[in-house]
Symmetry: C2
Subunit: 299 residues, 2 copies
Amino acid sequence: MTDQMDDRKARASAWFAELRDNICAAFEKLEDDLDPGAPHGGRNPGRFERTSWKRESTNPADEGQDTGGGTMSVMKGRVFEKVGVNISTVFGNFSPEFAKQIEGAEEDPRFWASGISLVAHMWNPHVPAVHMNTRHIVTTKWWFGGGGDLNPVLKKYRSKETQDARDFHAAYKATCDAHGADYYERFSKWCDEYFFNVHRGEPRGVGGIFYDHLNTGDWKEDLAFTQDVGKAFIEGYVPLVARHMNEPWTEAEREEQLVYRGRYAEFNLVYDRGTKFGLQTGGNVDAILMSLPPEAKWP
Amino acid sequence: MTDQMDDRKARASAWFAELRDNICAAFEKLEDDLDPGAPHGGRNPGRFERTSWKRESTNPADEGQDTGGGTMSVMKGRVFEKVGVNISTVFGNFSPEFAKQIEGAEEDPRFWASGISLVAHMWNPHVPAVHMNTRHIVTTKWWFGGGGDLNPVLKKYRSKETQDARDFHAAYKATCDAHGADYYERFSKWCDEYFFNVHRGEPRGVGGIFYDHLNTGDWKEDLAFTQDVGKAFIEGYVPLVARHMNEPWTEAEREEQLVYRGRYAEFNLVYDRGTKFGLQTGGNVDAILMSLPPEAKWP
């Protein structure tokens, strides 16, 4: 059982690294493909830069132990104002207080968690911002989680009825339908519920999918779904960037984008569970807060 | 007892409004006093604009009842990039969950809270940002709380040894010493502990004072102290603005200011109790989040 679980952990981690490579390649290609006459077309195409970090657990139970780490890939380009594609594999012991909140950890605080997390903030206000994340978590139980959601920064695009929102959802729906008859309905609803800014009384974006604690009893199948969710992100998002990245924008649209990003920062700092999980388990602060926008306004 | 408490509530609220008027007048005078040759000296002096709001309680126990409200005073000027001086008086019933966290509310969820809250984000990176707040809260118990803290935006000023930090602390120390031999030591330490950004492992600023649950048994004295804390804020902060507001600054200093403001936003959204109190009691979101910087960067 332990050997099998070790093999599964290795396979899941390897997948997240492979997906990271594929996403970075696709995003660098978008940087290359920007029209010379488009805004920022005269700048050099951006490239990802990687930084690795080791986790420093603050839990005494982890003292002297390797507790994992991760690699941030960050690009500040001409299409992508700031995009982070982070992978991490962390393990050790949950603090007693935190263990109570995590399935399967109350009886044994040891955990292993691996995943990929991505947030892209774009220069062009016509290109939606985006977030995606998939992860595999192992305590005395195991499960997969993740999803992706689209965040148009201009009010005129903040509707599920736009072509962008339809296309983005369609990519996830095809993937969901191939794995579970009710997956798309459940996971897209879950996404809308999760990415809701309660104090503003408004959704963060136009949705996508969100799932957590996925364990059908068939590990291979649940990994396969999670892999397909990662591929669907590339299929769903890259064409939207290509569709809009050459469009000109106005100063007023830039301003609206910066104000929207303030709301985005509010959501991540007040509500986001991944942010809280990271900050509470001694994750790398720069990696966790890579999601915050390069520039934002609260005028 | 009820009549006496009603009178006390009225007196406390009236003080917060008076202090607001005095602060706004002092800040508008700074706007007027900017040197014509200073950065932004060619712009028109700013003026506060007031907006009132009524509280909409989400607690069913408050249905159909007046639950108070407040007035925001906001100035977007040439010295003050964005400053909010908010007063509010809110009352009603705490939600059962929230009542457990508040002293004297577990046995009776009715509360009354009045206060003034101020955050100033300055154009000039040589002028520190600042926060101050004082409040009077009544449940089955009563107490005062508040304080003020100085937030230099450039690293070179982020030390308690600067003239600005010394002068700011000296104003509060004189006030504290006049009211309690141990007040300054206790309340300045409390300030350093409270305004600490745990995930960054760094203080938000260079301190000041912070006190809460102040009830010496002598209501008049505790109000008098709270009034003096408000006056000390004006004496402590206004001269610092005058000292630096005419200094030129560089683009690099502006950039450093914007990055610092990102950290400031993190603190307020992740840790600040006033922010949480407001969002959880159905306070006015614009008033609560007035503290967020007009512009910030996470590069």
